[in-house]
């Protein structure tokens, strides 16, 4: 889910003051620390994701919002 989609979904749910920040790149090496990413999946990612994207496959964010 893209950041703008996440923000829009929060607004559609009724939240205000939506803020998304603290953005940290999340790469294949980060994913490999988690057992939910199997070795097979990590190998697949290394095979099909171009080298320039491997350090930032996703972005870890903090999302904040308030219920009015």
């Amino acid at each position: 889910m893209a950041e703008r989609v996440f923000a829009r979904k929060m607004e559609k749910a009724g939240f205000t003051d939506v803020w998304i920040g603290e953005k940290v790149p999340y790469g294949i090496r980060d994913a490999a620390l988690y057992p939910l990413f199997t070795p097979e999946l990590i190998r697949l990612m290394e095979r099909v994701i171009p080298p320039e994207r491997r350090g930032s496959v996703a972005i870890a964010v903090i999302a904040k919002a308030r219920k009015p």
Binding site: E22, Y34, A63
Partner: protein, 192 residues
């Protein structure tokens, strides 16, 4: 016949199966990347071993003593315990997780951390949170909402259980550029 055009049931089953299969979390390598030294101090080793988050929502949630905080997808309980420390014994920390065994594990960790008296864990799903309307001051979660095939439903449920003026503070993953099709169609990727 109902058709699950978005394969929601399939995605949910794949996530559950993967989650049931793991024997531990990311452990110290993950915990040390996400949490401050002072947060990790005094935490049970088991809570650290089961760290599976992608950020540090408690650090950003501005929790206050006396508040009721809900940790959605509480896993081994690390964020629930950190939140319980912040809200203190006049507050309440509630963790909800998909798996009974994880709920039991987190209960043990909370007791070991000395916050068991004002912390509780329940089995439940984030698309159908087992709490009344307007019963929570703050909702946190850590790397969990992205796993749901019904993210809008999850956010609607969070909105329902928050009291007016209540806050949401979650750590999660966003993806700005489509991943290759081989990954998007992998069951294992849905769970990660």
């Amino acid at each position: 016949m109902d058709q699950d055009l978005l394969h929601q049931a399939e995605v949910k089953a794949a996530v559950r199966t993967a989650y049931e299969a793991i024997g531990s979390g990311g452990g110290e390598p993950v915990a040390r990347r996400l949490y401050r030294e002072e947060q990790l101090a005094g935490l049970p080793a088991g809570a650290i071993a089961w760290a599976l988050g992608v950020g540090n929502p408690v650090l950003h949630a501005e929790l206050r003593p006396g508040e009721t905080v809900l940790d959605l997808g509480s896993g081994g309980g690390i964020d629930t315990i950190l939140a319980a420390r912040e809200v203190g014994p006049t507050g309440r920390a509630i963790g909800i997780d998909l798996l009974d065994e994880m709920v039991e594990r987190a209960r043990g960790h909370a007791r070991e951390a000395g916050v068991g008296a004002w912390t509780e864990f329940r089995r439940g799903e984030m698309e159908d949170i087992p709490l009344p309307d307007g019963s929570v001051d703050v909702v946190i979660s850590n790397g969990v909402i992205n796993l749901s095939p019904r993210k809008s439903r999850v956010l609607a449920e969070i909105h329902r259980v928050l009291r007016p003026g209540g806050r949401l503070c979650v750590a999660d993953l966003t993806v700005e550029e489509d991943l290759p099709a081989e990954i998007l169609t992998s069951d294992a990727a849905w769970a990660g």
